[in-house]
Subunit: 647 residues, 2 copies
């Protein structure tokens, strides 16, 4: 019999429409009163009209003398006006006792109450004392150096509006009006349950086959960022009673319930079944949505309380959270406009970027592609897709934004412009230095050092060849490359042409890694060991991705043979090390550091050069300058040697 | 004898140089370990290399069957490859017991561990079950639907760097690596003391001559925003022993000490004297800085601990905080780069704007002018200076940014371009509707209603004439105006020309306000009462600012006379009400609402029209459309009538 379809998939917009409709009327939650000292970042629940005038009295802005302006007319340094000083000066915080009358003046400090009769203040610098008289050397106009009561804020004036978010700018205004408690929108409580027998809590030892629960943390913090209050509910195993009990607890305390994991058709899929039993109408609204990542999403509601089962894979979970849940949360928290005047979120400025590569899509569903951004020589944005997939947690954390491939589009060509949307409201940061190309642990050392110096950087790992192409197209400041040229038997320099400059990096030892003690490799010469292994049944290799400098070396060693595992391409030195250490493969090619860090055996093949290639036109940019300086510094070279590199 | 000069004033940059030099070496404070669940927003203290591979095993990305890829080659729907199903499927979170050998397949769920021997997963949709066999209908390549161990994050890979700020993007990555405690930079503790006999705590009843302590709240929250931890130290009276005791306490607990108030030469000035006695060397570094606002600033240090006496006036205090203290705080908190590669702060993108008015400066000191921004028809920024001065707390809270008038410049002309710097890192928000012109309480009603509908707005109060000029220059969406034309005896319509459209507003009753019971006004006819008052010695009026619609009405009533107080110009209806209520003036002209809210007497003069004027080219903008709709809605008109307006 044919396996039944995954689930009956709903269009993205239709899924959202059903979810929103179930939650209507959707608006900010109720009011709670908080102390002003704890109100930073909260959302005002109501308009605030000032209960008082600010300032509450006519206030002097200067140290000087309160006078009647007309008594100073005609005054000059040569012909000062002579006024009698009243015996009692104005004292801070106290209503003046005397009154300024014709021909008199009263000393007054900055912030003092202007006495009755006075309509201006002469600053002390324009006066001289002469016994009990003051000589005024400059005339003043009425109102001079006085802030009238209520000028800053008038009693009854609406100073702040409902749904203003309180920053230090607003809390100061509230304090100035004497307000010390304020009504704010209650934060939506969001229960977060992780489900799955394979999930373990961070801080516990790793276990084979298990993964750490990253969704609980990332969702809790994303809820905080959207203005909500997370209620972490821990990890529930894949057992109906356990999920049922946890769900009932969550529904009892929260305004919104999130589960993650268990949404596919696999053995662990029971969250949705439990929802179907437990939820009050309308219950499940959509299970399976035509989008990527995020297809297994389940949207539901129990009464007007939203319940969402997010996919277990981190990037899918957080992406669908931001697409479907965060907008609802922001409305509940009073942080989003119920209606959208423009196409997007408030302040969600959009940018366009050019794709440097072609991308296929399955079609028939909305596909979201997370990207890292860089700029070409003209400052136009370039969007590099991040290829690690929805199971990756770093895809999300590295993304500068994403673009949408609509369901009817099956391919986006290199050079096309796409509209970049912000990820979780995070705006792409402009960095001082963009490096595209091969990654190396030595580069980590240099970039860490630059970060300490205050130079920010972004590294987009696409391999040596991709990096060289990017730096040629002017898409980055530098490319990390280790490309071998057999004709000249040299590294990197033969590939420079058309205005590219080589910044000398360091050497690193490439070789064959294997599990220590494996007699098929231990103590042998690398080329000979590989030659023998390639002909030994049962020996499995692991290959590197095409376009990487190491791949070229692998091909040299294999001399045209294709041992088992040849087709499996890992994308980093670390991944080679992991595959060999865990027994998935028996050998691979990587740098010696990886062998050392994982306790693997190592047969040296050759020292290769890892250099940086820079466009001549960018050499004088501050970020590039700093990179060149640091690479040449003894401090960095010592640190590189400390990591086993040849510097 | 000549009054001694205020204080010996230091150049702005020199003052900053001395302060920074005293704190050197200046860098992030030490490390403290916090739970990951409380790490959001904190600053990483060190590079984080992953302790594990993520995923920790070769993981299936699909529900399906783990196979050897070569066993599927040539498979099709018509000619499926038949593989024997191994009896034990892969179970989530458990290492598989069996091994996939030639001609076999093992059922596997999404997230399951790929069993030994398999190098690909066939998705369930491409299979059929046939007893204890599975029919594969589509070939797969090696690696298909598998994420190899360490692909996302490899053990030893540097994933996050020191001084990364932890958002949900980063905390999720830490959790995925099993990290549940993390070393972050300790938050600098900043003691905040308000000093002054005139200062009272918000939440207590207002007292004559006293002002609420807004600086403590605004500084505490600004410290939080800069990554510090405020230590509020309350209000200290102007007494040397009290200030000394508070200062010693503060120095004992804090990394940085802020005092506000008491920095001028007035009677309350003793903070600086106490500093001179109490601080360890180097002590006072600068007292009096050539800048406006902020001249009375005092920068000091006790050892390497910064001590700053900020001016008491709110805008001066917060501005000097952001200029001199916040950058230091961000360095201590690990949030700023020690060196600046570019001219400005890390992400402080700068913008240029055109000044619509000319501005004089005193020269000889750096002057900062806070502005509100709008845009002309071409989208170019226009900067309206906020004129309320450094004593104002709302100046700061309304500002979209500021520009600098260098010490050698004495005047900036209308039309000049100025470089706008962000206020406290706050980027100007784009709003849906910009209104420039006269302010009215009725406008508050409409804008509050629009805010509820999700339409954001900005109101720049410059009076009717200024608003009309702004809307003509295309600098705003609408202008609030109430301008009387004597020739036609009508409001507003005579001033429309050149593509301006009138949006009907409402009527409001202008009249003479006076203290209830004042026999000189009570029960009389307005024009006659003003005529009499103008000739009665001892009666004081309060005027409105030139360019306001009400000023024109005042001039009509005065018939050319200039009673006492004529030269004193208040800038709002509320300010007129306050002046009369507090006895500073005996009468003025304002709308009846103000009289009602303050319990003042009121003699009606005329019903005037408050309308909105819109450029014809902007009528279809969503914000303008919403304004027009709301003004016409019965709901808003009822609310306007509820505030006593004629709608």
């Amino acid at each position: 019999m044919k396996q039944e379809q995954f689930l009956s998939v709903v269009d993205r917009d239709e899924a959202e429409r059903r979810f929103r409709a179930a939650l209507e009327p959707l608006g900010p939650l109720g009011v709670e009163e908080v102390a002003l000292a704890g109100a930073l970042g909260r959302v005002l629940a109501e308009d605030i009209a000032s209960p008082v005038d600010v300032p509450g009295f006519d206030r002097s802005n200067m140290d000087g003398f309160a006078v009647r302006a007309e008594d100073t007319y005609g005054a000059s340094e040569q012909a000062p006006r002579r006024l009698r000083c009243l015996p009692e000066p104005v004292v801070m915080g106290v209503l003046p006792v005397g009154e300024v009358t014709e021909g008199t003046a009263m000393a007054i400090p900055t912030g003092g109450v202007v006495p009755r009769g006075a309509d201006a203040v002469v600053m002390v610098e324009h006066t001289r004392l002469d016994g009990d008289h003051v000589l005024v050397e400059k005339p003043v106009t009425p109102g001079r150096a006085i802030t009238w009561a209520g000028t800053d804020i008038a009693q009854g004036e609406v100073v702040l509006r409902a749904f203003d978010v309180l920053s230090s700018r607003e809390t100061g205004v509230l304090a100035a009006m004497g307000v010390d408690r304020v009504g704010v929108v209650r934060r939506p409580r969001v229960a977060i349950l992780s489900t799955g027998d394979e999930i373990i809590r961070p801080g516990t030892p790793p276990l084979p086959g298990r993964i750490y629960d990253s969704n609980q943390v990332i969702l809790a913090d994303a809820v905080r960022e959207a203005g909500g209050e997370p209620v972490p509910c821990g990890i529930t195993p894949d057992a109906p009673e356990a999920v049922r009990a946890a769900l009932l607890d969550a529904l009892a305390v929260a305004d919104l319930v999130l589960l993650s994991g268990g949404t596919s058709k696999g053995p662990g899929d029971l969250n949705v079944q439990v929802l179907a039993e437990v939820l009050a109408p309308p219950g499940i609204l959509a299970h399976g949505v035509a989008l990527k990542p995020g297809k297994p999403l389940c949207l539901a509601a129990s009464g007007r309380k939203g319940v969402v089962v997010l996919p277990g894979f981190p990037t899918s979970a957080i992406f669908t959270f931001h697409e479907f849940v965060a907008p609802v949360l922001r409305i509940l928290a009073g942080r989003a406009r119920p209606a959208r005047l423009h196409g997007g979120e408030a302040d969600g400025a959009r940018t366009w970027a050019r794709l440097p590569v072609s991308l296929g899509s399955d079609g028939g569903r909305t596909e979201y592609v997370l990207v890292r951004l860089t700029e070409d020589a003209e400052g136009a944005a370039i969007a590099y897709p991040i290829g690690k997939g929805s199971g990756s947690v770093t895809t999300w954390s590295h993304a500068d934004g994403y673009f949408v491939i609509p369901r009817e589009v099956e391919r986006v060509e290199a050079g096309e412009r796409v509209e970049i949307l912000p990820v979780a409201g995070v705006r792409p940061r402009r960095v001082d230095l963009v490096i595209i190309g091969s990654h190396c642990v030595g580069l980590d050392v240099v970039l860490a050092r630059l970060a300490q110096r205050g130079v920010s950087s972004k590294l987009i790992a696409v391999g040596s060849e991709g990096g060289l192409a990017a730096v040629r197209r002017g898409e980055c400041d530098a490319a990390g490359v280790h490309l071998y040229d057999a004709r000249t038997d040299s590294y990197n320099t033969p590939f420079l042409e058309g205005g590219l400059v080589l910044v000398p990096g360091y050497g690193r030892l490439q070789g064959v890694v294997f599990r220590a003690g494996d007699a098929r490799f231990e103590g042998r010469e690398a080329a000979e060991a590989v030659r023998a292994a390639a002909q030994t049944p049962g020996v499995v290799m692991i290959n590197r991705n095409r376009g990487s400098g190491t791949r070229a070396l692998v091909e040299l060693l294999l001399e045209g043979t294709r041992p088992a595992g040849y087709a499996v391409e890992a994308s980093s030195h670390h991944a080679i090390g992991a595959a060999v250490a865990q027994g998935r493969a028996d050998f691979g090619v990587a740098i010696d550091i990886v062998a050392r860090e994982r306790g693997l055996g190592f047969l040296p093949v050759r020292e290769e050069r890892f250099d940086l290639v820079v466009a001549a036109s960018r050499v004088e940019r501050p970020g590039v300058r700093a990179l060149i300086d640091e690479l040449a510094s003894e401090e960095v070279r010592a640190a590189l040697r400390g990591r086993g590199l040849l510097a």
